[in-house]
Symmetry: C2
């Protein structure tokens, strides 16, 4: 028997939803998973650089994640944060002791002059993360959210304000100035399959897609490109996608997700509970298919990843036969 | 009844022994305690600025200290350090989670441009430290220790090597270049009593005394000046003072302590177990008296502080009557 061919999957992803999708692929045999992870929710807290989406990805894939809350580390403490609070610091951003250990390391390495990608590589190696984790950008790009209270950082809106204020405008600060990052671009070009995770399209995916070279790479890659909608029955499973789409004037529907990714994907996977709407409501040439997209157990994740791969590879074989 | 007059005590001190002495004075009624604390055992760990002597002082005086070990914080965890270790960091310097909360704060404020004294003031206020804690220097002064293994930082020698190597030479890096620090100098000049704590004379006190203006202030102050010997029966109660004095060629005796402080103190307090040696072995004009100097309980500390004050104030009154 010959070695089974390995399949390169490149996943564009944010935090919790992205990490679930990544976990599914990471547990498929014969998949080499490369993740292009959002960094636009990064923020400095107490002088330490925190990368919530990247860390959720690392904690999930290394089995450290707190499964009950879906973010943060299991068996975590709050001793350091309790002292920072006594010292008068705002501590609405819950940073556990183990989590702070990671942020201390990252910040130290940044100050030593190490690149963000190199630091990520060091952490992934030490934690045995079973995937290649690429930062969408080596530079600081930060999502800013305008609400009736004014402009806020993503974490202020997401954690401190619990996504309650209306979102009037989004800005990806530093995005247009950021130099193109060759590794994610190559990972899209060289993939066998490109997947956009069921992450928030505006908060997690757009900060990646808007970076110079990324959308072009998606348009020109030979790989089948699949996105998984984060909406199930018009609602986000987690996070503010539905509410935010609405307050920005978009209908929170699979059709608006499809239009958002128009030209960048071949297939949109929606949840089985959503009826595949009239083809006229989707961009031309986009295939819309239904799957069980809600990922609760590891089996759910692996099953969805396997189904996506099946569809994509069938397309690829079909194309090769034309 | 008129208000009892308050007495200003200025204490020169290092870590554990210094903090015990400080606790004694802090619990005396009618004492305004100012501590000039050694900073020459400061060191950066994992990109965070750690001030072990200052922190031991703060933790002791705010009741947070781990009474079993005499340093660090009670009810402490090691979660952050365990992650730093997994990430390949040297973690011989035990830094607990609560402790790291303080170091994170200090480092953040330093990077924001706050002065070291201001940061210390902020911490002392937040923690209700019942004393004025002055840093010996606003600048970085670091004790370096030459052993047969070469030059080491103080913490490398003290913590990593457990004071085991012979000490061949000491250097106080940055001491001669440091600008004079007006607050400690004033605190010595304006005190009613100046006390040198039973801290290591070479490791904790000399890094203070060698700073520009400090020894001069001690020589010229009108206040009675008392030092407490850290040796009991020729041995240090804690730390490497006896062994180090020996390996540097000094006899670990109360006489060599006296000679070390010659001209800077009026009275040397030695422990009751040590016989007051022949007056010829002490510098001229120095009075040597015996007290119970071992401080185990709070009562021991307060009793010693009270006895020192009694002696000093009697001298002061006697002088006033001349």
């Amino acid at each position: 028997m010959s070695e089974p061919k390995r399949i390169s999957v490149t996943l564009l992803a944010g935090g919790v939803g992205g990490a679930k999708m990544a976990e599914g692929f990471a547990h498929l045999p014969n998949v080499d998973l490369t993740i292009i992870c959002n960094v636009a929710d990064d923020e400095e807290f107490h002088g330490l650089w925190v990368s919530p989406d990247v860390d959720t990805m690392i904690y999930t894939l290394s089995g450290r994640i707190d499964r009950n809350q879906g973010w943060g580390v299991a068996d975590e403490g709050q001793r350091a944060l309790s002292v920072l609070k006594e010292l008068g610091q705002d501590t609405w951003m819950t940073l556990g002791d183990k989590d702070l250990g990671l942020h201390i390391f990252r910040t130290m390495r940044l100050r030593q002059g190490a690149s963000r990608q190199r630091i990520t590589d060091e952490i992934c190696r030490a934690f045995s993360v079973p995937a290649k984790l690429l930062l969408a950008s080596e530079e600081v790009v930060q999502t800013r959210v305008r609400t009736p209270m004014g402009w806020q950082s993503f974490q202020e809106y997401f954690v401190r304000e619990r996504c309650e204020p209306d979102v009037l405008e989004l800005r990806y600060e530093g995005q247009s100035e950021a130099a193109p990052n060759p590794k994610p671009i190559e990972a899209i070009r060289n993939a066998d399959v490109v997947v956009i995770a069921p992450s928030n399209p505006l908060m997690s995916i757009q900060p990646i897609l808007g970076l110079l070279g990324i959308a072009d790479a998606l348009r020109s890659t030979q790989a089948p490109r699949i996105a998984v909608s984060p909406l199930v029955g018009g609602k986000a499973i987690k996070g503010p996608a539905d509410k935010m789409l609405k307050s920005l004037g978009f209908e929170p529907s699979t059709a608006s997700i499809a239009n958002n990714y128009a030209g960048l994907i071949d297939t949109l996977v929606i949840d089985s509970v959503d009826k595949v709407e009239l083809s006229g409501t989707y961009p031309d040439g986009l295939r819309v298919v239904a799957e069980q997209t809600v990922m609760k157990t590891r089996e759910d994740k692996v099953a969805l990843a396997g189904n996506l791969l099946q569809r994509a590879m069938t397309d690829r074989v079909a194309e090769a036969l034309v």
